[in-house]
Structure formats: C-alpha cells, structure tokens
C-alpha cells in the first residue's frame, strides 16, 4: 500500500516543489512527506539548489597566445627581408654580420629545443613564453611550441647566404 503511494507521490514531487499542485493535492503530499521517510529524503534532494558559475575573465582570446603567434609571423617575414635588403644595396659587411647573428640565433634556438626552454637567461621571459606555449600547444599542436620553429627562417637565410661559397668550394675541389 505504502509503496504504491510513494511511486505516485514521487511523480508529483516536481509539481509540488514548483507549487503548481492544487491545494488539496498539495496538502495530501505534505502529509505523506511527514510520515514517509524515503519520500521525504527524495523531496529534500530534489529541493537542493545548485548554482554553477564559471569565471568569465578568460572568455576572450588571450593576449599571450596572440603575441606569440604574431611575433612568430613577423619574424618569418623580417628575417629574409633584412637579408634581401642588404643584398640589394650591396652591404656585404652588414650582411656578414647579419649572417653571424643569424647563426648564433639558430644555434641558440636549436639548443633550446634540446633543453626544451626558450630564453634561459631571462627567467621572467621564460615563464611568459612557457605560458604562451601551453596555450598555443592546445590550439595548434605541439610543433608550434618548439623553439626550433624560431630557428627555421634563420637557417633558411643562412643556407642561401652560404650556398654560393659551398658551391665555390665544391667547384674548386672538382677542378
């Protein structure tokens, strides 16, 4: 007897909680809840109020991620552009210096790739880069986060700069 009633009461509980039962039904349910322990428990559980909130401070794209990707893009353009400018204006001494700098940069980047950290001499910058990389990693995959990516344009330019000399060497050997 009690069981059957409980099934029906449980079915009506949502309406009871929302106060949209008729008065008569409401008082019936209230009475039942007083006497029936299991139904009362169900009632209490249904009545719990749960509120979820999420911080929205991150609802916009993060500056760090943008900074990382944008500076990467600029670097890719700038690196060959400087070499080209030097070449066009026949600034051979500057070009040599530039090649040296690029060689240092690429060595640093490749080494950093092995030790998986960017600018180890600057702690603050390191942490900053780490954070930016983590964001980028989640969005673009692991490749974009490797320091070697920063070395690629430098290596490319170096290759172009050094290639004539290498060819020269080979030719002289051949002869």
């Amino acid at each position: 007897m009690e069981r059957k009633e409980c099934i029906i009461i449980e079915e009506l509980l949502p309406l009871y909680i929302e106060n949209i039962t008729t008065e008569q039904a409401g008082s019936l349910i209230a009475e039942h809840l007083k006497t029936c322990k299991s139904c009362n428990e169900t009632y209490q559980k249904m009545k719990i109020e749960v509120r979820i909130t999420t911080g929205s401070e991150n609802a916009k794209p993060r500056k760090q991620t943008l900074w990382y990707l944008n500076s990467l893009k600029i670097w890719y353009l700038l690196c060959p552009a400087i070499a080209l400018v030097c070449n066009v204006f026949q600034l051979s001494s500057i070009l040599k210096l530039y090649g040296l700098i690029l060689a240092v940069i690429s060595v640093v980047c490749i080494l950093s790739d092995f030790f998986s950290c960017g600018t180890w001499w600057d702690m603050e910058n390191l942490i900053f880069q780490q954070k930016a990389r983590e964001e980028v990693k989640r969005k673009r995959g692991i490749f974009y986060t490797r320091p070697i990516l920063w070395a690629l344009p430098a290596i490319l330019v170096l290759l172009v700069l050094v290639l004539p000399q290498i060819l020269n060497h080979i030719c002289t050997y051949m002869i």
Binding site: K45, V50, R51, I52, T54, N58, A59, R138
Partner: protein, 172 residues
C-alpha cells in the same frame, strides 16, 4: 524586426553562451571555436529567423547544435580536467555551501555522464536559473518534460554525490 545588429547580439549574449558551451565541452579552446561557428551561423541565418521564439532561445539552440556537431566531428569528449574556473554552490534553504574541488569534479562528471537533452537541461538550468519555458524552447522538448526531468536528475545527482563523497550534510 531584425534591426538589431549582430554586434549587439554578440555583446549581449557572448558570455551567457560561452558559459553554457564551456560546461558542455570543458575546453576553453574548443569553446572559442564553437562560439565563432555559432555567430557565423547566426549571421548566415538571420534572415530565416522568424521570431517563433525569443532571440536568446534561438541563439542557445544554435549553440547547442554547434557544440554537439563539433564534439562529434572532432571526436571530443569532455573531461573534467581543468575545473579551476568552475564554482558550485549548494543550498538547502538553511545554509549555503561552496563545493570543494573533488565535489565539483563529481558534479561535473555526473552532468557529463548524462545523455544529451538531459545534459543540456541540467547545464542550462543550473547555470542561470533559466525558466523551463525557455529551456524547453532550446531543447525542443515540452515544458513538462523539462520540469519533471530536471527534478529527477537533481535527485539522481544528490544520490551520486552521496555515494561518491559520503555526502550527508546536504540532506540534513
């Protein structure tokens, strides 16, 4: 009736929709991708919106469809890994309490384990106390379905927490 331009909509509803999609996916990057798709779709379909429901309801149903498609297409499964941004309060008329990390995780896990309309129903209702009428518009279910199932799910949730966390304090 579409004098309102997309910028207004974006500004007004971005956060609300962001929260909903975030709880669905639990991944900030996916959430951003989905939000982009949602507003693209809104721009595309603005003309076909007839005003059968409120704008907000319409936006949320687009957000829901986009999220589900996105999750299916990219084979994503929401994992409650990073829950640092989520806070949950529980109150039973007498006192209010903030849930601990583990409890939050349990709640989120419970929500994620539900099948689809139920999951969205829980999220939409628990996030901002949306009216059942509004939710029923988003989910395409009847008002009564939402009402009854919401309370049932809440009971189930309390049961699950009780089992997992040894929760008693909440049911006095």
């Amino acid at each position: 009736m579409w004098e309102e331009d997309i910028g207004d909509l974006y500004k007004r509803y971005y956060k609300d929709i962001y929260r909903y999609v975030y709880i669905l996916t639990l991944n900030p990057d996916d959430t951003e991708d989905i939000l982009q798709n949602v507003f693209l779709k809104v721009i595309k379909n603005m003309k076909s919106f007839r005003g059968k429901s409120s704008v907000k309801t319409w936006l949320f149903s687009i957000a829901r469809n986009e999220s589900l498609n996105y999750m299916a297409k990219n084979k994503r499964k929401a994992v409650a890994a990073d829950i640092s941004r989520i806070t949950i309060t529980v109150s039973d008329h007498m006192d209010e309490k903030l849930l601990q990390q583990e409890e939050i995780r349990a709640v989120i896990r419970f929500i994620q384990n539900q099948g689809e309309p139920a999951k969205s129903l829980l999220i939409l209702r628990l996030l901002e106390e949306r009216s059942f009428a509004e939710i029923s518009g988003v989910l395409g279910q009847s008002d009564t379905w939402c009402r009854v199932n919401f309370f049932r799910l809440k009971k189930k949730m309390a049961d699950a927490l009780e089992r997992e966390m040894g929760w008693d304090q909440c049911e006095k």
